[in-house]
């Protein structure tokens, strides 16, 4: 199905649909997320049954701050849709979609690991890429890139954005 047709079909139930550069994005509320994804998966015209990726972006000067993006793809109809949910700074939690898409398991663990976003209902939410005892959520914009504590033969190398040359 072409992108504008897909967008029109989705817009019928969820008004907040944008089509930019040939890609359709629908923004939903956190409470509607599971229902929307189930709908999009089960509707025979849309059949968005494959979840490619779950990720988050941190916009610290916007409210809501965290935007979790779900990339959906339909194997039968070969079209894509992005579903986005905005989360506030002080309550970064969202229902887990592992029940609908088992592939989301590790994707959600990675997003938790990087941003500290809690996925309610995830069977095993713990750090996946960073060491278990790591403190902090490295990909948030208020976290340093690092390089602060690196000591090399008596030298101290500041992180990239603080070097003067």
């Amino acid at each position: 199905m072409r992108v504008d047709e897909l967008a029109a079909k989705v817009r019928a139930r969820h008004p907040d649909v944008v089509v930019v550069r040939g890609e359709a994005t629908v923004v939903v509320e956190r409470g509607d997320l599971l229902g929307t994804l189930a709908e999009l998966r089960d509707d025979p015209a849309l059949e968005l049954d494959s979840l490619s990726s779950v990720t988050a972006t941190d916009w610290p000067d916007r409210d809501p701050r965290f935007w979790v993006s779900y990339e959906l793809y339909s194997i039968a109809h070969r079209h894509r849709l992005r579903v986005q949910v905005g989360l506030a700074h002080d309550d970064p939690s969202v229902p887990s979609v592992v029940g609908l898409f088992p592939t989301a398991n590790w994707h959600e663990r990675e997003t938790y690991d990087f941003y500290g976003i809690v996925f309610d209902g995830h069977p095993d939410l713990r750090r996946i890429l960073l060491p278990d005892g790591w403190r902090g959520w490295p990909l948030r914009k208020d976290e340093e890139l690092g390089g602060v504590d690196t000591r090399y033969q008596g030298a101290f190398i500041p992180p990239v954005d603080k070097r003067t040359t």
């Binding site: 690092g146 390089g147 690196t150 000591r151 033969q153 008596g154 003067t164």
Partner: protein, 172 residues
């Protein structure tokens, strides 16, 4: 890039240590020389390929840039049976304790080649996740720069290590 030097922080050997080694070495030269020659002739590396440099290390061991000419084609899986650790690739914070454990499990005498800029100094990844130089964890004998170093560069590093072992002349 400005680099701050911190007062009083020093690593490596200084003159007093080197003299002591020279004295000890002079007593056992011929035996030392043959032992060193034997050690360098077939140094077995332990498989410690981590990232892209591991592929270049495998290429060096394969047919085109054969490492078997120096008796090193046999990459032992167990550190207890090897004498050389070629740290090939970026060492993440999670991998660092594993690296130290594998190094500790190797019997003496053992040598370390830090292959690639990521192992030598953190490479292009000056961030929270990569250890900025594997010599903060294990003592390194030869640093081979490159991203990744061509097999010929790694071979040159290995040959320099052989020279170092051959001329070291210390009973360890």
């Amino acid at each position: 890039m400005p680099v701050e030097r911190i007062e009083g922080f020093k690593t490596g050997k200084d003159d007093a240590d080197a003299e002591e080694e020279l004295e000890r070495g002079l007593l056992l030269t011929t035996l030392d020389r043959s032992v060193s020659w034997a050690r360098k002739q077939s140094m077995w590396p332990v498989t410690f390929g981590l990232a892209c440099c591991a592929i270049e290390m495998m290429s060096t061991g394969a047919g085109n840039y054969d490492l078997a000419r120096w008796g090193m084609e046999l990459f032992r899986a167990s550190p207890r049976q090897s004498d050389l650790m070629i740290v090939a690739g970026r060492v993440s914070q999670k991998m660092a304790p594993v690296l130290r454990t594998v190094y500790d499990q190797m019997p003496e005498p053992k040598w370390v080649i830090s292959m690639g800029v990521c192992a030598s100094a953190g490479g292009m990844f000056t961030n929270y996740a990569v250890v900025q130089g594997v010599d903060t964890i294990v003592p390194v004998d030869i640093y081979v720069p490159g991203c990744p170093p061509k097999p010929e560069m790694l071979m040159y590093g290995i040959l320099r290590l052989h020279e170092k072992v051959r001329t070291e002349g210390r009973f360890r």
